[in-house]
Amino acid sequence: MTETAQREVGRARPRKEDAHLITGQTNWTDNISVNGLLHLAILRSPMAHARIERVDVSAALERPGVIAAFSGRDVAEEMGSLPCAWPVAEDTVVPDHPPIAVDEVRYAGDPVAVVVARDRYTASDALEAIEVDYTPLPAVLDIEPALAEDAPPVHSDKGTNRSYNYHATSGDYEAAKAQAEVVLTRRYHQQRLIPTAMEPRAVVVTPLAASGDFTLYSSTQVPHVLRVLLAVTTGIPENKIRVVAPDVGGGFGSKLQVYGEEVITLVLAKRLGRPLKWTESRAEANVATHHGRSQVQDIEVAARRDGTLLGLKVSLLADMGAYLMLLSPGIPVLGASMYPAIYKMRAYDFSCTGVFTNRTPIDAYRGAGRPEATFAIERIMDDLAAELGMDPLELRRHNWIRHEEFPYTTIAGLTYDSGNYEAATDKAIALFDYDKLRAEQADRNHRGDTVRLGIGVSTYTEMCGLAPSRWLGEMRYAAGGWEAANIRVLPTGKVEVITGTSPHGQGHVTSWSQIAADVLGVPFEDVEVMHGDTRLATHGMDTYGSRSLVIGGVAVHEAARKVVDKARKVAAHLLEANEADLEFAEGAFSVKGSPEARKTIQEVAFETFTSHGLPDGMEPSINAEHVLDPDTFSYPHGTHLCAVEVDTETGAVHIRSYVCVDDVGKVVNPLIVEGQLHGGIAQGISQALYEEALYDEEGNLVTGTLADYMVPAAPDLPEFVTDRTETPATSNPLGVKGVGEAGTIASTPAVVNAVVDALRPLGVQDMRMPCTAERVWQALRSAKEASA
């Protein structure tokens, strides 16, 4: 840090935001109640695809306590179509997406009608009284059948289930392939996941009829983006809508959306002139909150026998579900830049087709495109190592960008500013005791042990800080990526930091306090951080994609520097000195050479408040704002190693050890960084071993509750050994890189590589996720039959 000594950044501070969460003084959206509040319940389609012939809400309206009931047709004109902000190709097919279905339902869970009643029980009960006549239409559930010539269209007016084709190429892949001694082709599957934030979504709208103002509380990650798009969608002027994200109970990408329920609740509160609440049940959440992943990945790698990579070709089929949500088409395309990962090669060819199916829409889930990319490249690196008879770590070492080669522009066109893959990997190997585990593995294989050991490697990088607005524009993303920070030094010297990021568990209040306290030289306790209210944090781009620290945190740093610069002018006047002669340290300005001539920043703030003695023309404020739009992304990296024991008699997979060394650049708060890694690793392991959204042949979600959809509990996960190296980013003054998605991105391939590594000697070459005991057992049986 430039201005003053670091006292806070780097310190493992327990979080300021814990106090109210630990004592139950919370402000979840569903906790909000106001006088006259009415409750909204939504009737959802029981069919994957059907024409709506008739919706009759009259019997529901007769129920005591029911205030109103509407079909999609009743409200279609006021609600517009839900937005898609990322049509990645010029000819992307973007179908209409009514918040309540009007003519057709396109997935089981699509809203069909709504009831407004005096309490939530009455509203839910009244749904039973709504009569809907459906004519079933053929549904297409899977990605590949959806592209068949005779596939029934999800959107009949579009006549195709292909939403877009995206193609990008760099170097001559066919030429690279022609020179290759080994060409390996693989198909991997990213199963459909349900993000499962612990807090189901909720929306509360309080209208103020006299002024036409609306306050909308939502369990959202994106209050600012939501406000803009609610205005566009409903026609209510943007400056009449205040969006508040109160305490938000997790998101993982699933709350970065503009959801139909937000539009419905707003429009019906306006129509009825009454405050209105909608709260999602978990069963609703599983069908109505967007899902993640769901891709078929064809990947081909061309290499020399010594392991040198020459080229990479990736061809994706990406499930969009029934509609395009806010970012749906962009998620796989965001991943496009990440397939070459940390490896040097001459040529890269990427293509992706977005496909409509009659299932819940797909959008961002923790990592958003980058876990999928990292999975494919890290899986095929292991497969290539096996093919070449090399150790998987040696193959990686042979190809990766060396420490002295940074900054390095990859074949995908990204320039990585800094990194040190050697250091992180060497540290991880030592913590993991790699050689000893390999020896044990060989011994078990030799003995024909029924419990096999597998070792999985993942050396990943990710692009964090979804920001450079120019880049987003080139990618046809309909918003910028900048972030705003505002710092107010109050008359008493206390400090308010207002951030445009919108945390939901990431600890911004604490980390941003640490950053501001250091630059301003004020106590950590003197800083308050405020967020998540568009009337307070007037502009922002919110929280997703590990962007908050790298853009929002750095914006706080820069705003604080502006405060110091402004305060320096006032201090120079007060001390009757030249600005250039002032030193700023420990929160005070002093004249070089005469340290007794001194003004603290708190004293300067008070002088500015009274403004009695400021010279003409000097602005009586040291408050400052900074809006940061960085030039580039940041690139955390790391090495994750996993050892699994696989019981070949039952198929059960047990994680014996998990070690990771991550390099997320400068660490602001080690406690928070470690926590983010733990949570991310847990979610990544869970994709590898446990989770999958499953449907029956009719298109009904059969994993519709937490009784059926496996979210791991404490006994299902191991202890994680986490450590780090610290290679500061050179692209921002804090040196930070972002951490929220690292664990998820890295862990899934590490675990699946370990499972395949354990089973390869038994003839199993691949495993589809999740690697459940049943699936492992089946794979072993198939391998045995094939060799018999």
């Binding site: 327990p14 106090a19 004592t23 499962t196 612990m198 305490d247 997790g250 939901h504 404490a714």
Partner: protein, 156 residues
């Protein structure tokens, strides 16, 4: 409607409730005690865990009428005169929460775990918290927090 009398976090309430009203909705909607949130409909997640006559229960699987004549403790009844319990302090110090949504239920479940096993092993803590789901922390820091409290009692 059925008349019930329940003592919640030290205060006695008398109310007429529908027989089907769940305890969690009684606490949240009738008493305004929103410190305990709801995470699922199937009593799988444990978010709504409270103590009913000293035993940890998932309040989405108890009817309000079943609590008639009983004493209920929620997370809002733990701190005394602003002083947190040892478990609350340990959750804070160990960073055993991120979004905090599962935290009230997790703390209530951990209280019961420590009452039954005052000195658990890490594995016993993991199994003891099996009925409470957390999506943020990966559980490791929660386990550490619970173990911290058991160790404090050994040395105290």
């Amino acid at each position: 409607m059925t008349h019930i009398s329940v003592k919640v976090d030290g205060t006695t309430y008398e109310d007429d409730v529908e027989p089907r009203l769940l305890l969690i909705h009684y606490l949240r909607d009738r008493l305004g005690l929103t410190g305990t949130p709801i995470g699922c409909d199937t009593s799988n997640c444990g978010t709504c865990t409270v103590e009913l006559d000293g035993a940890a229960v998932k309040s989405c699987s108890v009817l309000a009428v079943q609590a008639d004549g009983s004493e209920v403790t929620t997370v809002q009844g733990l701190a005394r005169d602003g002083e947190w319990t040892a478990l609350q302090r340990a959750f804070h110090e160990r960073h055993a929460l991120q979004c905090g949504y599962c935290t009230p239920g997790m703390i209530m479940a951990a209280r019961e775990l420590l009452r039954e096993h005052p000195h658990p092993t890490p594995d016993e803590v993991r199994h003891g918290l099996e009925g409470n789901l957390c999506r943020c922390t990966g559980y490791q820091n929660i386990v550490r927090a619970v173990l911290d409290v058991s160790e404090q009692e050994v040395t105290a």
